[in-house]
Symmetry: D2
Subunit: 400 residues, 4 copies
């Protein structure tokens, strides 16, 4: 987690960056690009061009978010010689086409999660990433919560053995923006556009964290999906909701470890509550994204008389990423995780080391999601998770 300047840096010019997408994710990725250099020592780069479908809107967004140019033609951007990096924040169904084209054009690619809407697309992307990797072209999928300092610290503590053998993980991602049955229809509630509902959108973060934190791989899954509100008002009347409002899954992983994940968009009063609890023989950890600067850690090797979950305010210079920010106790926000992500991506491009999470890791999450869905369609019967042949990537993640 070093922020040292890289002496091998021998760029002849700043990296040229293009971003595709200017909606919610485009706004937050732009923020990260605009600020990363003010806090971290990273290779020189330029926010060159923003790409979007609506000319007027993308022009305005480029101006607001600090991009020098804008265009509606992503293919043209990918062919430009002065573009070195492509950041894909477009909707999931566009990921595969753009990412594969960009990689083939020799551009480093960061793609928002989920990797793709279908397993087939995700597999094609992995293939492209591998081919590009041989030519020094990097790729990464944006599970930004790996860059929450508290979760990065959690991973360190687990890797150091502070939790002993992990027995089980209890995770949930709870939101409530669909609690109201009158809340209108959106593309996010159509399976063809969104892939899935709470499962793919938010449970995916929890599933990625389970692997990231513990280093274990899901072997089998059982799941349930439910849609509580099956029709919602659209512009011209009620429309069918074709994705899940809530998802439940239990997993069995390598290392004789269990895990449960619950995801809901109808958990009234929970706004953005990714909760993770890790229970081991030597200690335990709990975390909640609504208080993302805090990690609760219990050291079970302490005398029983003085054991307890300690609230670590993960805001010290000693903590991951924090040296760059403010003095202790001056908390950071949700968006900072994206700044950290860009920082790590840029450092990987610079050093030539493969960034993590790789497309293979993104594919692994997709496979787990697919197994949950298959189980849900088969009365929750346990489904084995097909493993990627590329164990290399996962083990590398471990040693990071």
């Amino acid at each position: 987690m070093s922020a040292e300047p890289n002496p091998q840096l021998e760029q002849t010019r700043p990296l040229g960056v293009a971003m595709i997408g200017y909606a919610f994710m485009g706004k937050v990725h732009s923020n990260a690009w605009r600020n990363v250099g003010s806090f971290f020592t990273v290779p020189a780069f330029e926010q060159k061009v923003l790409v979007g479908r609506d000319a007027a809107q993308v022009a305005a967004a480029a101006s607001t978010y600090g991009w020098s140019e804008w265009t509606t033609d992503w293919r043209e951007v990918i062919s430009r010689e002065d573009i070195d990096v492509v950041d894909i924040s477009a909707p999931g169904w566009m990921h595969a086409e753009i990412a594969i084209a960009a990689l083939e054009a020799g551009k480093h690619v960061l793609v928002e999660k989920p990797l793709a809407n279908t397993l087939a697309e995700a597999e094609a992307m992995v293939e492209a990433a591998r081919a590009a990797r041989g030519k020094g072209v990097q790729s990464m999928v944006g599970f930004n919560y790996r860059r929450v300092p508290a979760l990065a610290l959690a991973r360190e503590l687990i890797a150091e053995g502070r939790l002993g053998t992990i027995r089980h993980v209890r995770a949930a991602y709870l939101q409530d923006w669909l609690s109201d049955a009158e809340s209108p229809m959106t593309w996010r509630l159509r399976k063809d556009a969104a892939g899935s509902g709470a499962l793919g959108d938010i449970a995916s973060h929890a599933i990625d964290q389970i692997g990231y934190l513990t280093g274990q791989t899901v072997l089998e899954a059982s799941g349930v999906l439910r849609t509580f509100v099956t029709q919602r008002p659209g512009p011209s009347g009620l429309e069918d909701v074709t994705v899940d409002d809530a998802a439940w899954a239990t997993f069995w992983l390598t290392g004789d470890m269990g895990a449960s994940v619950e995801a809901s968009r109808v958990a009234t009063g929970q706004k953005n509550s990714l909760q993770i609890e890790v229970y081991g023989t030597g200690g335990a950890l709990t975390f909640n994204l609504e208080n993302l600067n805090e990690l609760n850690f219990l050291d079970a090797t302490a005398p029983v008389r003085e054991q307890g979950f300690r609230r670590i305010l993960v805001n010290e210079p000693e903590h991951p990423y924090l040296e760059a920010w403010w003095p202790q106790g001056h908390i950071i926000g949700w968006e900072h995780t994206f700044t950290h992500q860009i920082r790590d991506f840029l450092l990987a491009i610079n050093s030539g080391e493969e960034p993590s999470p790789s497309f293979e890791e993104g594919l692994q999450v997709q496979r787990v999601l697919a197994a949950v869905e298959e189980s849900a369609n088969n009365k929750s019967t346990v489904i084995p998770v097909h493993q990627s042949v590329v164990a290399g990537s996962a083990s590398q993640m471990q040693g990071a």
Copy 2:
């Protein structure tokens, strides 16, 4: 929830109470009998006789806990004319025989949970309870957490419609006394003696609460059971652990409602953490037994600007059971739930109204547990829960 004296009380003498069992549960039940009359207006009764297997120990316990007499022969006690009430705190495998005999002898019976170790025993107990009920003899199973004031308040709020339509419940019962793999073998870890592990011992409380709070009935269940430490040290070497260390279950209930339950005895750092979260269209509730005087309530009908989970310190005279205790903010403890249970049981005996939870309700929990176990033995495939024919009892619970 009235504590008014009952004007119809026409007892000719105080009720004679016998208790069977003097271990952990015997200690806490004795405490309830010893104190209930100092706080609540209840029918007159006498702590007559304590029953146990070891003469020396039961004699000492009787003296310490305030019972006038002791014996090792429960059959003799049940035949005594001066005994009107039998409180069964003996191990689960003894419940059926004693309870059925006592009911047949015309004694009011309170039996600790779980109702029995097997479904067959539980069904026989229900049959005996029904027969006795016709003769004015009452019976009750001891899911004491129904008498936590915060949970009683939760039930009231839900019954009043404050949560709107409930979408799903998230529950867990987490303990850690088996985290240490060197923790010794006990009868609680043998299936023949204990019935099951975390599932029957603690998940059962969570399952009962789901029904109690929401008034809905479990229709189908999917489950997973895991034993992380399969052998533990006994007096003469390693012995096989034949029950689960942890259990996961998902349920579908009447009212188009979902629920999840997680139970663990290896959740390091969690001491006695029964957590319940209820999410409805109009609001939400959360609770944790380690802070049992508190209920968190979110009213989703308030303006968004001022919505939030409010921590209600359930310690006001306005709250269930609290008028009897101390001024506001002077919190009560875990044992008080048993005092409330005895109070309600005595009032039911006095009034002739059927106490709740009935044996039928106890049986319903057993059936859910059995379905979870069957699912766990069948790759988590969803199993329908056989319903009691006596829907009457459940609906009565609703209207209480």
Copy 3:
């Protein structure tokens, strides 16, 4: 903190106990007497007689709370040969007369806090206690919060040096039962009957804790007293409130230590919130009486990366008093502190060791309260606290 049976116990008959007062404090003291023997190994005793002014009420209370006899004449009780212990829960203005008479009659005396309503009375009581002590007659003042297990643990940790040198303590006792300006007049709001308001009633607990936890003595005090509602409705019209609604004080203590105390009966939403924070060079502690089973401890000698306040659920057999109660995580309530107090008082009577807090310690709290009041009457100017000549008692407290 040993609960071992005392082999020197050579009582010829059970101790005879009389209690004076049957209102709120009488109810909770009775509860302690009724139950202490069921949980702790203590000398044999009998709840002989309850004393109060209203014959009908005291008779009913005696029956409800487990006392064999009742009377309205405390002088007669003190003269009885079969009475060995007198527990004084009557209002503060009666303490001195009864306690001095009882001590002179050779009875062991436990008196509720505050020791007395005036310094002169308190000093006379101390004189009587010293005289009696020479004859083996014990006395104790009832600062029951010293028997909160979490605070007893706090004291142990501090005494072991886990907090290093203590710099300052931040304490508050916040209630809200006078928030409503229409709340009626009571004797507690008249200076002649109650002595003072929030200062004597609740700030006194905080002040006692500061000495108890840290072992330091208040040298000087500055204070402010405020009455927000100066008249309240009485039976025949508005009456003057002659005590404070809220009090603020800052202290300088031995050991180069500072402290602040804030007490309020108009802190809306705070029910019984005695908050204590202790900051030392080696660590810190925080506590809140509304969650009295918890102590938050920060060990500043741990690596910065993993420092944080840990929530210790003070419910383990390893914790003070807890071995007697329930398994871990099964929390106890407010009233249990009185049971612990009776236990310690009985053990002291039995062993002949002087119980703590002594009348001298009670007097020291009174002197601090008097200094705060004097300062408040003199524009908050710092007032030195007159020290008891009997430093012996205080230092003994230290070594307990």
Copy 4:
């Protein structure tokens, strides 16, 4: 709190901004200038020039933080025609000279808190601000915590009467960076450079909040200042610490309201804990800067049965400033308060309405600090706070 574009905006060119100071405060102010336009609709401006004393360092900072030019000569900058706004983040002893010069040169001025190191300087600044105001030149002092959304919401709720009549405020600002007695000497610990210690640096924030939230004015103050570590290691041996490590104050305010403030840099385990509690007849509020996205609100007009402090996650579009940021539950950090401050300052420049807090308000805080210090030097005797003649400003703040 409107973010609407101002139709009267008739700037002929973007506002030219200069900032003086590039250390901690310079870094965070720069961040605000760099990002405000990406989130809020504000008048066009340019980050023109950064000013500092060390040429090499200021050059590097200008490049890192997004300023087009740099210089070491603030006087030259103030004389430039293309500079319209001067942001003063230099140390406190430089504020008066620069601010007065800039105002006289017709530049809008934002100055970091505290307004100045001495009352005389602060008064001169107020005079300059008034003179400039007549010419349409704006000035503002940087109490950034007024722009914490949760505190802005708190102020709104209070202004709407949701707390009824406020009785007292309990505030503290607790840090621990001086807990270690070996922590080295810095200019912040010398009275000549820093003015005061915890009092001026952090208690000042608490004092400003009391006025901001309640709209009341401090009439009199009593205080205590303590220095626990009187010498600290400097480059050439031990040096005298000449400011306070901790400060305590009690206040009496208009509106028959009390307040207490405690500030410490030796509160081990507290990192940046500005705690504010407001108690009124109709409700209460609590806040802690370490969880700055949360406000706890108790509505005492709700039925007692359901009263409780509700944790409002102040992250909804309905909340102050939040519409500009991320979806609900995606929390913001400490630095965002500065972005809000710049936004409000720019909008005030644009609209011609006087921004708040004005220099007069900054002076009022200084006067309260001076009274605390005078009281501390006089055995805590209550000292009246000299009032500004310009009540106009304060009352205007009220109506904002």
